[in-house]
């Protein structure tokens, strides 16, 4: 396609959508689907057809709207319609009432209040299209300014301008480490090689983390556009998305999205008629968590065992098949297009000084609203858990929140008013991680929690180095003894020594951070350990 066609297509699609006086969006992402939202959609469609109103009233299936616990969710628009509303816990039998109400006024018994903190506190950048567009139609994405960022960089900007905007944005890697994205891009851009690669890390596997899966299922084109912009900035011509094989829907939608983009000339050779070409391919993992580590991921794409190797050299200089390779996380890439469209300064104004922008979190465990939220960095844990998460269900009390998965830690009540950003989480012995938050209530034993995470590391250790392979087993044994009341005080100090040894001598991040959940529960919930020992 030539540059002008993108705008034409967006305009055409928007006009087509505006010709509908009424729009009914039914969430058909996994959460609502399991509550039969597809049947609601079918019955709405049938009713619209029965009344012969297809030309004015559109019924669409859309991705996750976020408040999965109140599902199935249905939204009615446009917002100028007197019946515009978000409906919760909709049933098939409500279809008639919903359609009767169009143009009149919302069905009050179904209305889900959107002035509450769950919606009001969110700032949607990565998730701006989630629940708004049909992830299986590229036209929908284009109508929502999709591929405009790519057009802008290819026609108006040098690669160095692109990196300049990324620097201004202050974006840091969302895969866990928080390394400044623009620094990584600069290194790859400067690296010399006959070929360069861009890899999207979609091997999400932290317990309690389901943000990347949601982004890929709800808005796959956003990730592709981010990758293409990055490829232009660093001078790469080929890209891979490494996805867990356990995500069949995400894989299907990504493949479909690549296919659609190639047909329109938004990926592939000579994009927008420029000299820039970029080819993307999906690669599947095979159930090894450690393949999320960047050097292991590269080994896996190369067709080998996915074991990490020592760094340096970093993939930026010596990556896939030895060529300079940029690896970023799904959410990192998903943030790129809006940054380019609105400018780096715009993004930097969201969030805090050192942790710019927004972060997507997945709430799981003992919290009323489990699901996905996107908030500005710097929001407090209390706001996330109580205001947005709706607090702890069944009259229980909050005990701790686990962030950062198996590399992170447990944060107790005393720190709930702490602002969430990369640095403050490290100060309390945890990490930002990929964005999973597991909330625990007063019924959870913290020794068991620590054991859960060490068991995770034990079973996912690739076995390449002894401290991690053997150390995690020993830590697990000790924790089991403690929780069964068989341990002595001496075991407790052995536990700490073991943790420190594993942390200091393991080769990759998995082993180095495996002791974190143990150390952090020991720091904040020592009493519980002691109680098991004395008992």
């Amino acid at each position: 396609m030539i540059p002008e066609e993108l705008a034409e297509m967006a305009l055409f699609e928007r006009e087509t959508q505006q010709q509908y006086q009424h729009q009914i969006n039914v969430c058909v992402a996994s959460g609502c689907l399991s509550l039969q939202s597809d049947q609601i959609r079918e019955s709405l469609e049938k009713e619209v057809r029965r009344r012969g109103e297809e030309r004015w009233c559109q019924v669409r299936g859309v991705g996750c709207m976020g408040l999965c616990t109140a599902g199935p969710l249905v939204s009615v628009g446009p917002f100028t319609d007197p019946a515009a509303a978000l409906y919760q816990e909709v049933q098939v039998s409500d279809s008639l009432d919903i359609i009767d109400s169009l143009g009149e006024g919302a069905v009050s018994r179904l209305v889900c209040p959107t002035d509450g903190p769950f919606f009001q506190r969110q700032v949607r950048v990565v998730l701006e299209n989630s629940g708004q567009i049909d992830p299986e139609r590229i036209e929908d994405y284009i109508a929502a300014d999709g591929y405009e960022g790519l057009l802008k960089v290819l026609t108006e900007m040098n690669p160095s301008d692109v990196i300049e905007q990324m620097t201004r944005s202050g974006l840091r890697g969302r895969g866990g480490g928080g390394y400044p994205t623009s620094l990584k891009w600069t290194t790859v851009a400067k690296a010399v090689g006959p070929r360069k690669f861009v890899i999207c890390n979609a091997d999400e596997g932290d317990p309690g983390a389901f943000m990347d899966r949601s982004v890929l299922e709800s808005d796959p084109h956003r990730v592709l556009e981010g990758m293409a912009i990055a490829a232009y900035a660093v001078g790469a011509g080929e890209g891979y998305i490494y996805v867990r094989a356990e995500y069949p829907l995400a894989i299907k939608r990504l493949r479909q999205a690549i296919h659609q983009a190639e047909r329109l000339g938004l990926l592939g050779n000579r994009i927008f008629g420029t000299t820039f070409s970029f080819h993307v391919e999906v690669r599947l993992g095979a159930g090894a968590f450690v393949c999320g580590e960047e050097t292991a991921l590269i080994a896996s794409i190369e067709g080998k065992r996915g074991t990490p190797r020592p760094r340096p050299p970093y993939p930026a200089e010596y990556g896939l098949w030895g060529y300079p390779t940029l690896i970023n996380n799904v959410e990192t890439f998903a943030s790129v297009a809006p940054i380019i469209r609105n400018g780096g300064d715009w993004y930097a104004r969201i969030g805090t000084e050192k942790s710019a922008g927004t972060k997507v979190f997945a709430l799981a465990g003992r919290v009323t609203n489990t699901g996905i939220i996107e908030v500005p960095m710097g929001i407090t844990l209390r706001d996330i858990i109580y205001e947005m998460g709706g607090g702890i269900p069944d009259g229980h009390a909050f005990k701790a929140v686990q962030t950062g998965g198996p590399s992170g830690g447990c944060i107790p009540e005393d720190y709930l008013d702490m602002a969430v950003d990369y640095d403050s989480l490290v100060q309390v012995g945890s990490i930002m991680g990929s964005g999973g938050m597991i909330i625990m209530d007063d019924t959870s034993s913290m020794v068991d929690v620590a054991r859960f995470f060490i068991e995770f590391c034990m079973s996912e250790s690739c076995g390449k180095c002894v401290p991690c392979r053997v150390g995690t087993v020993h830590i697990h044994d000790l924790l089991t003894r403690i929780s069964e009341g068989m341990a002595s005080m001496g075991d407790l100090s052995t536990l700490v020594e073991l943790c420190e040894m594993v942390r200091n001598t393991s080769l990759c991040g998995l082993g180095q951070s495996a002791p974190n959940p143990v150390l952090s529960t020991l720091r904040f919930f020592r009493d519980e350990y002691l109680a098991h020992i004395r008992a």
């Binding site: 058909v28 959460g31 689907l33 669409r60 049909d134 139609r137 596997g205 990347d212 098949w321 799981a364």
Partner: protein, 199 residues
């Protein structure tokens, strides 16, 4: 046999990668779908197709949990036992499975129908407990529905309606009150797009 049956797919795989080894994982998925597991003979055949030393393939099969070097059941049931799922009853689901099938983790029923495994987070923690059968998601599973679920899977197998182990035709399912699988329809959009050829 693979070579004849999947000639064009193999050609595409081989031509797509400058480095032949890169085709190993996709090729293993293909072989596993065809044969049900990756025993020694299958691995040798894959090695032969890709002109690689068999040891290269053996070590890959041994490393990844989704490659099975021993025969597994027609249905590979994987139960997430990570913390968020356990908070919602994953262990009870596991116990019900074990009891009704009379097998333990990593075992296969005598009739070759089911294998059960524990796996780590499947990123469906919002619909915990979550399990996968041949990589198709089943959400919000409860012990009460296990019986009906197993019956449904068995009758699907009898009708020849299984899913491939690679998840290539996996879908999302929810369990009806009687435990039978209800496929979650995902027709989206008004203009159906031509499907890309899966590989």
């Amino acid at each position: 046999m693979l070579r004849e049956k999947y000639a064009s797919e193999i050609d595409t795989l081989r031509s797509r990668f400058a480095h032949r080894r890169s085709a190993v994982l996709p090729m293993l998925y293909l072989a596993q779908d065809e044969y049900g597991s990756l025993g020694e003979e299958v691995v040798r055949e894959v090695a032969d197709v890709l002109d690689l030393p068999p040891t290269d393939i053996f070590e890959v099969v041994g490393f990844y949990t989704l490659f099975y070097d021993r025969p597994v059941g027609t249905w590979m049931i994987q139960v997430c036992d990570d913390a968020p799922c356990c908070y919602c009853g994953a262990e009870e689901v596991m116990a019900a499975l074990k009891e009704q099938l009379g097998i333990c983790e990593n075992e296969t029923t005598e009739d070759g129908m089911f294998t059960i495994q524990r796996v780590k987070c499947l990123a469906a923690c919002g619909n915990a407990p979550a399990i996968q059968v041949n990589l198709a998601y089943l959400y919000d599973v409860t012990p009460e529905k296990i019986d009906g679920m197993l019956r449904d899977l068995r009758s699907r197998a009898e009708r020849g309606e299984t899913f491939r182990l690679s998840g290539r035709d996996a879908d999302d399912y929810t369990l009806a009150p009687d435990g039978s699988l209800q496929r979650i329809e995902r027709r989206l959009g008004k203009t159906p797009e031509p499907q890309p050829s899966a590989a």
